[in-house]
Structures are given as C-alpha cells and as structure tokens.
C-alpha cells in the first residue's frame, strides 16, 4: 500500500466519520404518485449547526421524522453517528435530543415534572434539571403547570427537554416558531453557546432564512422534497457574489430608464425606490458618486440582503 492511497483512505474515513448525519437517496411517499421526499442526500458534519431550510410543506418535518425514526425508513438510507439509524433505535436517543413538531409537552404537568419524565426515561440524574431550567430561564416557573405557560415559555421548555442530558446531537424542528424577536435572539444565543461550549451538533429546521442564517455554519435547502443546495455559509456567500442595492430617489422612474440605457440592471420597487444589481459590493461608492454627479436627489442607499432573494428564487423554481 503506498502512502498516497493510505492518506486518501484515511481522509475519506475521517471525512465519513465527521458526518454525524448522512442520508443517501432518502425517499418517502404516502402514495405511489405523491412523493414527499425525493432522493434526499444530506450530510451534517460533526460540531456544526446545520440549518435545514425550506418553505412550509417542503418536507422539512417529514425529513425530521424520518431522521428520528418516528416515520420508519425501510430502505436503511439514514446513517447517524456512522451507522444505520434503524439498528440503533431506540437506545440512540440517549445521545440525541429531539424537538419534533413542537411543542410536545404534558400540559397537565409542571415544567419541572415534564423534565423529570425525560430524565427518568433517559436515565439522567434529576439534578441536571435545574441546570437546563436555568439555561432556558424558566427556573422561576418550574412548578407552574405547562398549560399556564406562554407560547414562548412552552417553546423554551420543549428545548430544555431536548437539551436535558447533554446530547451529542440535537434535532430542533422550527424551534423559534411563535417566539417574539427578543426570544428568537435568546434562543439563537443559547444554541450557539451550547454548540461552542459543549460541541453539540445541532440540526435545526426553519422556513425563514433570516431566522437562522446568523447562527448556522452549514445550510441545506429543500423545496418540494428535493435538496436544492447544501454547503457551508461561506460556500453560500461565494456562490452568490453579485450585490443588489436599493436606492430611494426622486423621479425614480426616469432614473430607472436612464440607468437601463446605460446597461445597468434595475427594477422599480416602489414609486421612489429602485433596486439596482451591481457586480460587487465594491462598486457601490463609484456608482453613487456618479448618480449624485448627474444630479440625482438621493435619500437612502440600502444593501438588499442578497441571500434572501436568492433563497426565494431557489425555492420558487
């Protein structure tokens, strides 16, 4: 065996080991004609926060249920921790925390008792309960019944239940659904914290890119059951390097015509707003200077987040 082959072999092996979740051509359909998931192959590296994005009805929850074995996968297309999921059910769940179809809570029980139940069935020391309660800031309400919780509190309790026992892998299905902006920020912080401090791999789904783009290291985008994109956030930025800006300007329609004549791609957004597509970010100052010089009355210049539009494009086609 030569060294090169050995190195390649080792590389492939470590590469494989790094993927904590791996599916190869995962399929699922309720009836023969209606496919819910089609040839889905995703790879979630260890230590990542993997954002699983897609509009409602794209198959996110179904994928989530397949990955957690709630929907059985007879083809053995799912590997978790490097081996087939089906072989590891149910004991794998002592290493996995899952929040699927939130919030699965026992409303007649107190927050503490909800966690106590999880601690019991996962064989976790009940002392850890106070820690996670602290983490999601529910200590003050731990003896209140869950049915008296607000939506945000319920969501946080459900996350606490998933977090209990320091799992290696966390499945979170729409964890910030129904939270106020403040709450969303809190959860985001929390997830980054446990990812950084404890090295927990997090697989999180959402239908809003903006909700999770700030925390994810990896992104997978699904639409109509098919994977449209998978890669790191960096790959995402580089694969998308045009820049779209929006300017607020008097006589917008006149200016739009003028710009079009000069070969600049534009679009009239509102009566006094024009979206302009530039090649790079660096072109912005020159472009603005030129406009002002030509006598434009400019009120505002804003970079439109390129990713969001791209995302919308992606899932619509």
């Amino acid at each position: 065996m030569n060294l090169g082959f050995f190195l390649t072999f080792t590389y492939i092996n470590t590469f494989k080991m790094e993927n904590i979740i791996q599916t190869s051509n995962l399929n699922f359909h309720y009836s023969k004609h209606k496919s819910i998931i089609e040839n889905l192959s995703i790879n979630v590296p260890k230590g990542s926060i993997y954002g699983f994005l897609g509009p409602n009805g794209a198959g996110k929850s179904t994928t989530m249920r397949l990955l957690t074995g709630i929907i059985p996968d007879d083809k053995n297309a799912i590997k978790i921790f490097g081996s087939e999921l089906n072989e590891q059910i149910p004991f794998i769940f002592s290493k996995i925390g899952a929040l699927v179809e939130s919030p699965a809570l026992y409303l007649h029980l107190s927050g503490y008792n909800n966690l106590l139940y999880i601690a019991k069935v996962k064989n976790i020391n009940p002392d850890k309960i106070d820690e996670v309660l602290e983490l999601v800031e529910l200590t003050y309400a731990k003896n209140q019944k869950a049915k008296q919780y607000s939506l945000g509190m319920k969501q946080r309790l459900a996350i606490a239940m998933a977090l209990l026992g320091e799992p290696e892998l966390l499945f979170l299905d729409e964890p910030v659904n129904g939270l106020d902006p403040n709450g969303i920020v809190e959860i985001r912080k929390l997830l980054i914290k446990i990812n950084k401090e404890k090295g927990v791999t997090i697989f999180v789904s959402s239908h809003l890119l903006s909700e999770i783009e700030k925390m994810c290291t990896h992104i997978g985008i699904i639409a109509k059951g098919k994977l449209k994109f998978e890669g790191t956030m960096n790959q995402l930025s580089t694969s998308f390097n045009t820049c779209k800006i929006e300017i607020t300007i008097d006589n917008a329609s006149d200016w739009q015509k003028k710009l079009n004549e000069n070969g600049v791609k534009t679009q009239l957004n509102e009566a006094n707003k024009i979206a302009v597509l530039l090649n790079t970010k660096e072109e912005i100052p020159t472009f603005i200077k030129k406009l002002i010089n030509e006598g434009a009355l400019l009120y505002e210049v804003k970079i439109l987040e390129g990713l969001e539009e791209w995302f919308m494009n992606l899932i619509e086609n």
């Binding site: 249920r65 709630i70 149910p90 769940f93 809570l105 007649h108 029980l109 139940y117 069935v121 499945f171």
Partner: protein, 742 residues
Amino acid sequence: MKNSVNNLFTAIQGEHIKKRGSGLYTMSLIFGLIIPLLYSIIYIFNQEATAKPVAFSFNIFTKHLNDIFDSFTVFIFPLLIILITSKIAQLDHKNGGWQLMETTPLQKTSIYLSKFCVVLIANSIAIFSFLFFSVLSTLVIYLFVEAPEVAEFNLPFLHLLHIFIRLFIASLFLTAFQYFLAVKISSYIWSVLIGFFLLIGFLIVSSLVTIPDWFPFEILKRVAKYPEGSQVENWLLFTEKISIIGAAFFLFLGYYWYSFKSIFRAFFYSKKRLVISLLVTAITVFSYLFLSQTHQVMLNKKTIIAGEIKSETKFKKAYLIHPIIEDTLAALEIRNNKFHTVLSNKIPLDNYKIIIDNSLPVDLLFASNDSIFASIEFMNNELKTELFGSRFPENDYQKSNSVSWSYLSYQINESVNLDNPKKIQEELFDEWEDKYNAANTFKTADNYTPKQDFIEKEKKLITVEYLNLLNQFLDKRKALFPNDKTVLIDDVKFLKSKITLQDESLIGNENYLSYLLYELTKQDSRDIDKNLKEIDAISTLEPSQFKNRLLYYYLKNNIKEANSSENRLQLVENYANKITDSKLNKSILHLFKTYERLGRGKIADEILATNLDSKPISLSNFKGKYVVIDVWATWCGPCRYQSPYFEKMAIKYKKENIQFIALSTDKDVKKWFVSAQLKSKSVLQLHANDIGKLGKDYNIESIPRFILIDTEGKIYNSNMPFPTEATFEMILRKVLNLKELE
C-alpha cells in the same frame, strides 16, 4: 431480556410521573367504593326488606359480597376499564406524547406495555378497593343492624384472594381490547363511546339472547355469576382462561399495529410478519376452540349414592325410593350421619327421593353408573340439600330453569284469539321449538353439558308441557265454539307423534300423567267421577309393567282419598287383580289393610308418650273421653300454622268431654320442650316415645295429622280435616252431640 425488563420498568416509572395529577388511581379507588357504600346505606335504612330469618350458618362477608358482586363486575368495573384505558392513552394523544416517547431510549414494547401495566395496576386497585370496602361495609352494617344468629364473622381470606385473582384475569381481555381501541383512536370521546355502547348493548341484550362465552363483558359477568368458581376443582373457569388468550391476541394486534404504524406494514409487509400474524391468529383460534369445548362427566362402572348430614340430630336410617311408585330401591344405613351405598341393579334416569328417618325428603336425580353425593344440612328445623357428583350439570340446569312468561299460555288461559286455531297452533309449535332447542344449549360454569339421556327426557317433558297446553286449548275451543271443528295442523300432529302413551321413563312426571290420562279418557263420555274414569282407562291398557305401575299409583291415591271403607273395598276388588306385578299387588293389599285397620270402630293402637313433667302418659289413660290428637313437630311449618286453630277449638270445647292432645314427633326433645312450654294449657302437650312405631301404627306419611278417638278407645277418624277447615269442627260437634252451627 433483562434489559427489556429494565426498560419496561423505567417506562412504567415514567408513566407514573406522567399521570401525576390525573387522579387515575383515585378514580379506581372510588369506583371500587361506590357499590359497597350505596349498599350499606340502603341496607341500614331499609332493614325490613332485607331481614329474613335464616336457618343455616353462612359467612356474612361472602353473603354481602355476593349481593353486590354482580353490579360491580357487570357495570362499574367495565366502565372503569373503559374510562381508564382511554384516559391513559389520552395523556399522550393530547400532548403529542406518542412521538415524544419515540424519541427517547424506550423500546416500543416498553412504551406500549407500560401504559397497559398502569391500567392493570388501576384494575387491581379497583378490585382490591371493592373487596376491601365490601368487607368494611359489612362490618359497618352490623354496627347498626342486628346480625342473624347463624352468621359467621370470620374473614374468608382465601375466598377473597381467589375472587381477586379471577376478577383480575377476567378483566384482562376487556382491558387489552379497550386499550387497543384507545391507542388506535386518538379522540377520547370515541374510544369511550364505543366501549360504553358495547357495555350498554351487552346489558340490554344479555337477558334476551345467549351471549358467546368469549365476549369480554360476559367473561366478567361470569365471575359474579359463579362466585364460588369452578365446580370441578379448577382454579380458573374456562372463560377466564379465554380472557388470557383474548388479552394476548389484542396486545399482539395493538402492539404490532402501533409499532409498525399501519395495518399493512404490521401484518403483511414481509413474509415474516405475515407468517407471524397468521401463526398468532391460528394459535388464538385453536386455544379458544380447545378451551371452549364442552365436557361431559365421565361415568363410573358402579352406581354410588353417598351423603353426609350436618345436623345436631343423629339419624339412623334412610330409604331410597321412587317418588311415584314408592318402590324402595335401597335401604341406607346412616352412621355418624354419613351414608354410602353401591347399587347393582339397573336404574333408569329419574327423580328419586331419599327419605331420612321417615321424615326428611331429599330429591335426587340419577341413573345407573352415576356417583352422587348429597350434602344435607338440617338445622333449626330446616332442610337444605346440595348435590355433587356426576349429575351436577343436570342439577344446575334444573336450578337455572326459571319459568318464563309465555304469550301463548296467556292467550289460552284468558281465551284470547281462540277464534283463530291455526295461528294459535303455529305459535304453539314455534314456542315449543324454541324451548326444545334451548335444552341443547345449557352449559355449566366449566362448560359441562347434561348427559344425553337427561336432555332427551327434558325434551320429552317440554313436548308434554306443550301438548297439555294444546289439550287445554282444544277443550276451550270445544266449549266456546261447539260447532266449529278444530283441525290440527301438521306441525302439531308431528308434536303429538313424539310422545307415546306408554313411556315408562316419564312415569314419574305429573305433566305426563295428566297428558296420558287426558288422552286415555277423552273418548269416555260417561257421567261418572273423573278418578274412576281414569282408573278405568288405565285398567283397559295392555298388560305391561308400565300399566302395573300406573295402576298401582292411581289405585293407591284413590284408596287414600276414598271416604268410606265400602269404597275402598270396591276399588281393591275391581282393580287390584289387574296389577300383574306381585310386589306391587302385595303393596296395594297391604295399604288397603292399613286403611282398614285405621277405619272407624277399629281399636286404636296404644300410644306411649311423655308430658312436660317427664311423666309417662298413654292413650289408654283417656278412656271414657273423646281424644283428638294433633301429630306435629317443631320443624314443620304447616303444623305451626294449624296449631293456633287447634288451640282455639280446645279452648272453645274445654268444658266438653274431649281431650285435646298435641303429640310431638320431634327427634330433639329439648326443642319440643321449649316450644311446648309456650303453648296454650288447654292442649295437653306430649312427646311420643317411639316415633317409628307411631308412624307405622297410624300410617303417618305426613304431618300435621289429626286423629279422633272415641270414648271406648276406638278410631273415629284417623285422618281428620285440618282445624282451619269448617268440617273439623262439624265432626267434633257431631260426636259431642252438640247441635249444628248455623
């Protein structure tokens, strides 16, 4: 395996965290408490209805438990199971818990079974609570109510334990079935409704049709129906074993369906699963068929009659007789109040009687090769018999055979719809057919059936019953529509063809005899006594043992009922020689002589007796006075009824030349002594010294018996009417030369 058990155990502990605050176990406790509580309140405030004098010792806890057992097992307990299974499944349906549980390290078996186990714990709590509170309520009741003297207050611990286990096992099937529904149907209301409608439907329908023995509610009902359990020493009834099979099947079905999410995936997805499902179904069906097969008692080579008498009195001798022919089959020696005899001759199936010491009759159904044990209790002058042995299914059948209301017999009795003879006959045939077929379906608690000879006979008796009804109908038709001839339909002719007029096996049955004699005498239009017509008709039959027995029976009755020596003589002269069986013939002549001996003017046999001061007194002491004797015993109900009327006469005719004597035939002199002390002094209270001799001398077959002896010690009337009848006083006034009452 060990891991799975640990896993299950963890799941059960988890369920107990989850059910906090849901009040599941409290509900079980309360459901167990309801019936005993209501019962004790009603019992305490409604004493009159419940206070009946009881003669035999019994366990007070068992009695009260049996009173309320049915309402618990048939309604309250099934209702609880329906509610609890739905409630425990709801805990997770409502909160998305089923999915949550699947993302924990619990095995699916643990998830499915842990909740089932919680229901089983709830069931146990309910049963325990029911038994505990029924014992407690009994104790509470007797704080307020005076307990019967014969009641025993020792706790029947083993019996209660047995009932606990049986009830628990009997509830398994229903629990597994309801749990299966509750897990499958995520709406609370539907799983409860289905269970509830099944329960209500069962309650309504069960009195109308036979419910199959595998039906879960029926299995529970039978625990209360047979509180003593198996009659053949099994720990469980076969229905309770079926409960285990049913529970296993539904647990399998429910678990597979739950675990593989859809019927197709669970049972047909792969060859392996298909084989497993078929195998489980086959095992279930075969075990059910095996368990539910009917049994018959194995026959012995010998015919054995045995028994034991529980009593303070010691008995000596008993006779096994045929009740109609009074033919003695065997004499039984009683030692230490036990008897045992082996009969060698062939005996046809019939209802026989054991007469113990000429006074206690015990009915006994058997034929050759049966082994019968009679457990007889004679306490406080009341008799109770329980029969064991090879005819127990038949005995159960007779006990269960309650009289049912019949529209047909209503129509005939009230002369309704008699203008349509065809319709009545059709109804008659239909009703007969129902009953006829029902005779085949009887089964005991252990699924034993009566033997074929019994069923055949029973069917004949049912036919006879309907033929008698038919005759009654024809008579009414004749009276109401004299000109309208009633034509028998073919079905009814078929009915008639089933019963012959010479069926010896039915000779012991009154209904058959009345049918037979109706048929024999219906052409006889002579205007003479009905009895005479009947006896005439019998005497014209072809000579046979059947005729002998029948003639014997009728002649005997007629001799007994004849009102003069002349009549008796006529009967014997005309018919006795027609009985060709020498034994029966002799018996008739003997009877005749006995009656002649007791005829008016014959010297009365001496009676030796003792009075309340233990002084000897004999009949001859009273020569020169009329003597009227009331032969009685303290245990005899009709005697106690006649007694006051007899005393009234004694007081009224105190000044006349007549002595009233109450002659006791009690075996237990103490009983007589206490009872006689309280009676009127105008009647002389005596106790017969030799009861056997008295019985023979005066042919005393039943008491009370009233005998009138004249001033010369001769018999005036050896079988007086009862004092309640006016003729009693008329006879007294006649002999005392008093003028007739107006």
